[in-house]
């Protein structure tokens, strides 16, 4: 029974997954156990994406199914879910740029790989990255940008982090659109990633999880 939800979610069977959730709730099963299975299903989705078996639409659809499942479970939740995370990452699209697809994919992959992603959204001022990094003590900051103007925003953000005295406390990764090693050098970030899997690999390496 428990295996069903994991597989239904991993295989993107929306109706089946939601029916299992409802049945299990009706059978008075512990809501946290249901969510744990959903999480396992999402982990498989993430793995399939990393293996190029799944593509962006599959991620979007799985996220949608998970959202619906969580909404069903929520009213029955008595205590907050607490799962051990590998580490925190402050993450967002830099100032001036409102693109979110790439950022959301990376956030998704970091999340299913065990990181706690603090997503600051799009058009994020440098100060917001600094405030959140201080508040959460996150050791990693991720800057996303699609447009060429983000090169300068990233550079400004890295400089502001430096000026705030945080540069030796956080590792900074950048990615998106036209980002390359040239741009990494230009911005002063620690590393760039070509795709979401690269971001996960970098984060694991930096946090010493591998």
């Amino acid at each position: 029974m428990a295996g069903n939800l994991v597989n239904a979610l991993a295989d993107l069977k929306e109706e089946e997954a939601l029916k299992i959730v409802k049945d299990r709730l009706n059978a008075n099963e512990e809501p946290l156990k249901i969510l744990e299975d959903a999480r396992k299903g999402m982990e498989i989705v993430g793995k399939r994406f990393a293996d190029s078996e799944y593509f962006i639409p599959d991620l979007v659809y799985s996220g949608e199914i998970l959202k619906e499942a969580t909404e069903l479970v929520k009213p029955k939740l008595t205590k907050a879910t607490e799962s051990k995370k590998l580490g925190k990452i402050v993450f967002g699209t830099v100032a001036g740029d409102i693109h979110d697809i790439g950022k959301d994919i990376v956030a998704f992959m970091l999340d299913v790989n065990g990181f706690e992603v603090i997503d600051l959204g799009v058009d994020t001022p440098a100060q917001k990255f600094i405030d959140k990094a201080k508040e959460t003590g996150a050791p990693i900051v991720g800057l996303s940008g699609f447009l060429a103007l983000s090169f300068d925003s990233m550079k400004d953000t890295v400089e502001a982090i430096q000026a705030a005295g945080l540069r030796d406390k956080v590792k900074i990764m950048i990615g998106g659109g036209q980002i390359s090693e040239e741009i990494r050098k230009y911005t002063g970030a620690d590393a760039f990633g070509k795709d979401a899997m690269a971001a996960v690999a970098l984060a694991k390496q930096w946090i010493g999880a591998d």
Partner: protein, 451 residues
């Protein structure tokens, strides 16, 4: 006597389009007067070079080159994107300086900025533009959304024009709210009751909307007049404008314009048949749009920015099922009318190349952004002319030496047997002018490969 258009083969129509392009007219319909005999020769040489590269029948005299900017001409001329959107004089100055300084074989006109005041009059919501949601010194950006809801496919399929006028337009233009109340014009049939159909035009919100439309139309006309004057000036100086016309892949019409990326992706799982039906419905409209705009512009190239078919945005199976069939139909519909589609493969399309190459040879011109150039040449490049690939990041922060090496590399990889034009890969805003010069110089220096 010359053959009538309807009697011509696709090849003859394409040839006729190129001939028209070679003999440009002024706004009065007379032969355009060039600024000098050299300008006229330069114009014709450039078009012939581009034509030979596209048709792949004979080798051009050298590898042609384009420079395809977004707002770069504004920065380059010391004005802001806001300036060139609101001050047409500054727009003309900036884009003229850009063309005259870089002397590209083909340029994209001065259309990129568009008329800021026009967008303002109509309250355009699909984009944020300089001074309206983004700072004056930045480029505009799209605000994607579900401007068509998941349950509105039937409305779109039944009557696309009515869906656009009464539902889509009021959602993306704040000033067109009143259009929600417009009558269905196909209900105007006979004297009995006919006046009832016209009642909406008497209602204050509809009348307000029309007032805004008159104002917007006047502004659009003013802007277009400036663009036409610019075109004449630049053409008469010897520089051809490529791709004034426009069309899109049906999948991108639904994905960019109507449903948004997320909505579109969910539709592939939840209502694939409706989506396919809507894509079919859009197909003839996109062919007509492309042919119509090419005829209006008087030359064969039309621009088609491609987005949602890029690597990773769809699985291979989804690409073959949802993206390619109607996109190919649009391409073939355009080709059959003599039009040369100029699709821009924005981002990475390396995994799509083998599918895309199923087209007749010498009929298309592809802008390559970050796809692998050597691989593109071996697949799509067998049938279509390629341009682009010089990276935006290098143009922005690289050195002239890096640019020259890059241009050399792609000429080596893609110029064999013709069918190649040097150009940047993505429409760019910020770049070091010396890097843009380096791209142009390298194209001239290394582009003499056909002697």
């Amino acid at each position: 006597m010359a053959k009538q258009w309807e009697e011509m083969s696709p090849d003859e129509k394409q040839e006729e389009f190129f001939n028209r392009w070679l003999s440009p007219k002024d706004p009065q319909g007379n032969d355009l007067k060039f600024q000098s005999p050299q300008a006229e020769k330069g114009y014709k040489d450039r078009i012939t070079r581009i034509k030979d590269a596209i048709q792949m029948k004979k080798l051009p005299d050298r590898v042609p080159f384009f420079v395809a900017p977004s707002f770069f001409p504004a920065y380059y001329s010391g004005v802001t994107p806001k300036d060139v959107m609101y001050d047409y004089e500054k727009c003309r100055m900036a884009f003229k300086k850009f063309v005259l300084d870089f002397e590209p074989d083909g340029n994209l006109g001065a259309y990129v900025p568009g008329p800021g005041r026009f967008f303002e009059i109509l309250g355009y919501k699909l984009y944020s533009w300089p001074g309206h949601g983004v700072p004056p010194e930045q480029s505009y950006q799209a605000n994607e959304g579900e401007y068509m809801k998941a349950d509105e496919y039937d409305a779109l399929i039944d009557d696309p024009s009515n869906f656009f006028s009464n539902t889509y337009l009021p959602r993306v233009f704040g000033a067109l709210e009143g259009f929600k109340m417009l009558p269905v014009l196909t209900g105007i049939l006979e004297i009995y009751g006919v006046a009832v159909n016209f009642i909406p035009f008497g209602l204050p919100p509809v009348q307000e909307t029309y007032k805004k439309l008159f104002e917007a139309g006047a502004e659009a006309l003013k802007w277009f007049g400036e663009m036409m004057a610019w075109n004449n000036e630049i053409t008469s100086a010897g520089f051809p404008i490529v791709a004034t016309g426009f069309s899109k892949a049906p999948f991108d019409v639904i994905g960019d314009t109507l449903r948004g990326t997320r909505g579109m992706m969910l539709d592939m799982y939840r209502q694939p048949d409706k989506l396919l039906e809507a894509l079919d419905r859009m197909t003839p409209l996109m062919i007509k749009m492309g042919v119509g705009t090419a005829q209006m512009a008087g030359h064969p190239l039309i621009f088609m920015p491609l987005h949602k078919g890029a690597d990773g945005f769809l699985s291979d199976a989804q690409f073959k099922k949802f993206y390619w069939p109607t996109f190919r139909k649009v391409l073939m519909g355009l080709i059959n009318e003599g039009v040369v589609p100029m699709p821009a493969l924005e981002g990475h399309w390396t995994t799509r190349l083998e599918v895309l190459q199923d087209l007749p040879k010498g009929k298309t011109l592809w802008m390559v952004d970050q796809s692998d150039m050597a691989k593109t040449k071996k697949t799509l490049g067998k049938v279509g002319c390629l341009f682009g690939n010089v990276p935006s990041d290098l143009l922005a922060v690289g050195t002239p030496q890096q640019i020259k090496e890059y241009v050399k590399k792609i000429i080596d990889a893609a110029s064999k047997d013709g069918g190649f034009i040097v150009c940047n890969g993505a429409f760019f805003d910020q770049a070091k002018p010396e890097n843009v010069h380096a791209m142009v110089d390298a194209a001239k220096e290394y582009g003499n490969v056909y002697k």
